[in-house]
Point group: C2
Chain length 459, copies 2
Amino acid sequence: MARLGLTVPDWLRQRADTTPGRLALVAETRRFTFKELDQRVDAAASALRERGTLSGQHVGIRASNGAGFVVAVHALMRLGAVLVPINIRLTAPEIEWQTHDAELSMTLDDAAVRDLLDGPPAARTNRQFEFAQPHSIVYTSGTTGRPKGAVLTYGNHWSSATASALNLGLVPGDSWLACLPLFHVGGLSILLRSVVYGIPAVVHTRFEPGHVNQAIDTGGVTLVSLVSTMLSRLLDERGDRPFPASLRVVLLGGGPAPLPLLERALRAQAPVVQTYGLTETASQVVTLAPEDAIRKVGSAGKPLMGTQLRIESDGEICVRGPTVSPGYLHQAPRVPGAWLRTGDMGYLDTEGYLYVLDRRHDLIVSGGENVYPSEVEAALLAHPAVDEAGVVGLPDPEWGRTVAAVVKLHPAQSATAAELIAFCRERLAAYKVPRRVEFKDSLPHNAAGKLMRRELRVF
Amino acid sequence: MARLGLTVPDWLRQRADTTPGRLALVAETRRFTFKELDQRVDAAASALRERGTLSGQHVGIRASNGAGFVVAVHALMRLGAVLVPINIRLTAPEIEWQTHDAELSMTLDDAAVRDLLDGPPAARTNRQFEFAQPHSIVYTSGTTGRPKGAVLTYGNHWSSATASALNLGLVPGDSWLACLPLFHVGGLSILLRSVVYGIPAVVHTRFEPGHVNQAIDTGGVTLVSLVSTMLSRLLDERGDRPFPASLRVVLLGGGPAPLPLLERALRAQAPVVQTYGLTETASQVVTLAPEDAIRKVGSAGKPLMGTQLRIESDGEICVRGPTVSPGYLHQAPRVPGAWLRTGDMGYLDTEGYLYVLDRRHDLIVSGGENVYPSEVEAALLAHPAVDEAGVVGLPDPEWGRTVAAVVKLHPAQSATAAELIAFCRERLAAYKVPRRVEFKDSLPHNAAGKLMRRELRVF
């Protein structure tokens, strides 16, 4: 494939040249056509160049979702600099570590990216993109261990965008809502897709259920990327109001979704399409085809066109294909064509649909049996009083590990530990049933909304 | 871009794995889902292997459009053999020359491809596609000079398919009608796109206006690729019946379309999208975005995402990008990233829309002025009595060349040469006006429906 697209034109520039008048970006009160966004990005690239940004440098963005973030992303691309998005929730020592690890020449904060929206216009900067060239270094969200900087190339992002369109379609009038953080790959990939597709990205500063529902009901949004907790809150906010037919896809990622949530979403006519993706694959790996959303509820689907999946004998999910990162910063590059070990466990059903179980690290081995926390959590979530559940293994001299659960109840509902254990006993094999259940007012999540099991403090 | 998709799974196999139940192919009375097509292709690959076909061999297909042709194409891909589609209109000496030039190990004729539909089932053959690997050698349609075998890689075809979807969209329920010959790139690319997209290819054995109109009106066809003469015959057959809204795109290629035809098509609510493409670019280079179809009627549009366009100082159109062939058989490969000289003349308007004028070879230089035959033909076609027109240069001692026209009149209509010359004089600069007009009952076309100006016998 050395031949495919040695170089391609700057994506935003080509959109500005081919579809200048189409809407490109809606963020807060600002709206940009592709032509306007392109001109604003030229101005921003010029301002960043004056501040010393050079091609090949690593530049951090540590900013909230907004038009400034988007302009900064495209300006770095236009300069040939490598984007390093930084989680705004990190502590000062974590930021210091990552700044050093990523060898950042500069980090743009909220004020800096806002400034890029107001600077004087500038002449055109022309740039070609090489598909093998690093586009970004995205740190793994770090539910376990120290984060690693996954290098993502222009080719990775392009392949992800096109393969997603081959699965979900690309319909005239499409518009993709980004209410996930743009510093995670799930949010960032929406920005890149929207430019490759020539459709608007609708960027929300933060996740506000009412605001998202309004964008869906009257804002023309046809696709939205969510994680389970967000979907749950959207449904709470909507009450009985079903989703409109104009909403084509609710792309649901960030870990296995609880079945009760999926069933509730389907009752509200939410066109939920489950997906399983990774930072290291520029987002989606497998996605449920829209026609299978109901029949295969609970599955994350099948590989995107071009992507291949393999389950190791120990159950680990491995991936290869054009979206797979060439490697991590400071590590030897991946051998071309080698399989990426995801660290996630899963299985394929007889029709080849992927069911993602858990992080391998979270697996509980109890008396020689494998217990997947997500399966136990799903059983707990089926209880009407349970709002959230987290399951971990506790050291046990007899069994190696025993199963323990931390539960957050719905407000104004009640259940005892004994009731929940009995409830699980009707639904799970004995070795999977929690021995202990503790109640908390909140469970820890990372910025992408994923449950942080390692931070569950049990007993 | 060495990293992008080193290998990807066999496209049809991946479709059979991910969307087995979707309709893949409709040809005459036969219908195949992706799963059925995949199994039939396994059987065909096995039969061809038994006949000695090996990976890397060049295998000709010289057959009419039909299910057998489609199965043969995918079976060759699955074997790693290189497809060489052969124009069924070639004479015996031309076939002999091409068989030798392409170094064919075998040629599948109509009987041979039909046999592939009926053989016994066979075990699965697994194949990975390399994007740099040659998929096919397609001979240029040869409106001028001796045909050359353009090598098209898997990456070329994949990039063409995805870039086309980024422009025309990919809508649930799409279905693409192939009534162009499958041995030209315009037809062949439909087969490959349909598998990449997971949508049915509807293959007609030959172009029958009534049959095509029926497929559009009641057969669920949403996209169709045509050349001008086909569109004209469809409109004749339809009479006053407008095209249904379910037809999303009439992709009109094969050379500049006469403006009166475009206007007539728009009146019939045909969603005409003009395109300009080449064998050497795996089909489309520029295509008019649907929203510009009316505003920019007569233009072929703007480059597909990833493709770049340049007009040389002499007016020649040059192209580069991931769809561009790595070279011709028996010639040095193209330098990666080098511009392809198309041999076509054109210009960009102030908004960057491409207008294709003519083959450089067909340009008439008369008294030092450039005369584009298509412009003169368009002027003649605006006359109500003119059905078809071809314009060429005749040697002239004073002017170098003078402009001459061959005209086919509509049945039951009449016009004299003097009338047509006077008609042109009102519309064209004096040096462009034909000095001589001759009437014929038919004009020569190649199998793709392109006017063969070099075969116009004038005076």
